[in-house]
């Protein structure tokens, strides 16, 4: 509830809130453009057939950045009131990453 500053006057509040929302929407559009850009980059990088050692970390990094955009801008995790959701999401992520790590290291045959 980042944008809940009450003046007591609904009209003023509304105007203020609309302005805030608009601003936020701007950020969201910007992050969307960036995401599209990153996606393009990732596809182009793969199309360009560079070394695997270089490309894999780069495209994963780009996916992570995009993921952060989604979570923080589109899903509003940057807003207040998302402490518990982030705690649980990141715990889930931690468990998931350990799983992935295990499956890519100790299952090798």
């Amino acid at each position: 509830m980042a944008n809940q500053t009450n003046t007591g006057n609904p009209k003023v509040d509304l105007a203020y809130r609309r302005k805030k929302s608009k601003e936020e929407m701007k950020y969201q559009v910007v992050s969307f453009v960036l995401m599209i850009f990153l996606t393009l980059l990732a596809f182009l990088a793969v199309g360009a057939e560079m070394s695997k050692l270089f490309i894999v970390p780069v495209i994963i990094l780009m996916a992570v950045v995009q993921c952060i955009f989604q979570l923080y801008y589109f899903m509003h995790m940057n807003h207040k009131g998302h402490e518990v959701p982030s705690l649980f999401l990141f715990s889930g992520l931690a468990v998931g990453l350990i799983t992935i790590l295990a499956f890519t290291t100790i299952i090798w045959w």
């Binding site: 809130r17 969307f32 715990s91």
Partner: protein
């Protein structure tokens, strides 16, 4: 605040999804569910990564994947994420019509994505890469297919919401429902980010 109160733009709260206790519960419960989904998909990704070379003599990822198609699908899904953001934007502004409109566009984009995916799967099956042909095949279809099933379920869900609330207008009873549905949609997009990166792009390098 009572759930069914008729509201105006002025009285509509800034975070309608969390204005009632039911809304708060739904909001939190859904985020927790997404935490669980994260682990679910991580397990599927892990399985896929452990098996993606086990083609049992069948076609490898390089021989199989068609990047332009995946690129198109990615663009569609990413865009649908933005359109659902627009829907939420209008929800906060208490503009029910526009919200419905953008949600509807999201729905259509989702459908387009699903059609592309079905087309893609069909294509692979004709190349001899099937669910039962190798462990790689099983892992591939299970991972990507589970995502597809999520898209499908999302379409059912959003579709139901749109139709059910057509006449009702926006209130604090259905605002959390729309909000949560849009969270779900974004989450599907997040998963897809990793599918196109890990499955398709990494499969091609």
């Amino acid at each position: 605040m009572h759930t069914e109160e008729k509201l105006t733009a002025e009285t509509f709260p800034a975070s309608p999804e969390k204005a009632t206790l039911e809304g708060k519960n739904k909001f939190l419960g859904f985020w927790l569910f997404l935490g669980g989904e994260t682990v679910l998909f991580a397990s599927l990704f892990a399985t896929y990564l452990a098996l993606n070379d086990s083609t049992a003599g069948g076609k490898t990822t390089q021989e199989l994947f068609d990047l332009p198609l995946v690129f198109a699908a990615t663009m569609i899904l990413l865009t649908s994420s933005l359109t659902s953001v627009y829907a939420m934007y209008h929800m906060k502004n208490f503009d029910f019509k526009k919200m419905q409109l953008w949600m509807g566009i999201t729905w259509l984009l989702g459908l387009a994505f699903l059609i592309l995916e079905i087309y893609e799967f069909n294509h692979y099956v004709h190349l001899g890469h099937t669910f039962t042909s190798s462990a790689f095949g099983s892992a591939f279809y299970t991972l990507v297919g589970t995502h597809g099933a999520h898209v499908f379920f999302g379409l059912l869900w959003i579709g139901t919401l749109l139709i059910r609330n057509m006449k009702r207008g926006l209130d604090l009873y259905n605002a959390p429902k729309f909000y949560v549905a849009s969270l779900y949609w974004h989450f599907i997009d997040v998963v897809w980010l990793f599918i196109f990166t890990v499955v398709y792009l990494m499969g091609m390098v």
